[in-house]
């Protein structure tokens, strides 16, 4: 079996806001009835996280749940556990109307860490990132520059970004350019 590598293999661009590719991450797209008890139970047992409400993410370390749409949740687990996690979802939901797919190798995860991380994102996305509107735990699917991306806040100075693996290089360079250009002071 070949060694799996992440899109940018942990590339880091240090600075006042550091851009860092997170390396491999297990990701499962799960579509179904998010109010279904069996679905909620298996999601929580895999991640230790409660099912998030609309527009929220519950993430801790490599694990978490992100609300993607009214019938879709993103299940985050350590990369090595993704295959097993998918099997557990299939076992739990067999016979019900759902769809689960391991998309770990189709995605990239990038951390944006530093004092003006909020502005680094705000410059690139058509989203309201005012501190009163977007807070830790909030999750948003939108675009960064020219490509689709989603992000959420881990804490006041840390964003976690996901995008398609094929555009990871573009997203990384875009975030680095935004960080290098410095703070705007728009939110201060």
């Amino acid at each position: 079996m070949s060694d799996a590598v992440s899109a940018l293999q942990g590339k880091v661009a240090p600075g006042e806001v550091t851009i860092r590719e997170a390396g491999l991450r297990g990701m499962i797209i799960l579509r179904g009835d998010l109010s279904d008890k069996k679905l909620r139970k298996v999601c929580t047992s895999l991640t230790g996280a409660k099912m998030p409400d609309q527009g929220k993410a519950h993430c801790e370390g490599d694990k978490g749940l992100c609300w993607m749409s009214p019938d879709e949740v993103l299940v985050l687990v350590p990369y090595s556990q993704a295959v097993d996690a998918l099997a557990k979802i299939d076992a739990a939901l067999g016979g019900t109307h759902y769809l689960a797919e391991n998309v770990s190798d189709a995605r990239a995860v990038i951390f944006v860490e530093g004092t003006f991380a909020r502005e680094v994102i705000a410059k690139l996305a058509p989203a309201d990132l005012h501190p009163d509107s977007f807070k830790p735990g909030d999750f948003r699917r939108t675009r960064l520059g020219q490509v689709a991306a989603a992000f959420w806040m881990r804490d006041a100075d840390t964003f976690e970004v996901i995008c398609f693996r094929s555009v990871a290089g573009y997203a990384f360079d875009l975030l680095v350019a935004s960080a290098k250009a410095g703070a705007v002071g728009h939110f201060s």
């Binding site: 749409s69 009214p70 879709e72 058509p126 989203a127 309201d128 948003r140 699917r141 939108t142 675009r143």
Partner: protein, 109 residues
């Protein structure tokens, strides 16, 4: 800049997050319909300067379709509502009437 509230995920989405889907509330004509009705369904569209009802898809966001009532002249948005709605809802029509008395759209008023 046009900003529409997505009723599916609660996000205020910018035009660049969205994909326009053309006129809303079209009645699909298929086998058994007359040629004239089928032609209307395929090709004939409202093209108002003013109140309009459209389909939009939250393409970069939740991926869902929804419907919007807006003014093509001023970009004022009167409201958005679920795609599973066969005709403009009364509360949306009331909002439009408050701002554009005497408006009509096709045979809706």
């Amino acid at each position: 800049m046009l900003i529409l509230h997505c009723p599916c995920c609660g996000v205020d989405a910018d035009e660049t997050d969205l994909h326009a889907g053309g006129q809303a509330h079209l009645k699909r004509e298929g086998p058994g319909s007359t040629d004239d009705d089928f032609e209307d369904y395929l090709f004939m569209r409202e093209n108002p300067k003013g109140v309009h009802f459209e389909r939009w898809r939250h393409a970069y966001g939740c991926g869902k379709w929804f419907l919007a009532a807006r003014c093509t002249n001023t970009l004022e948005v009167f409201g958005t509502y679920p795609a599973q709605t066969l005709e403009p809802p009364q509360d949306i029509k009331d909002k439009i009437t408050a701002k554009r008395p005497g408006w009509s759209w096709g045979n809706v008023q």
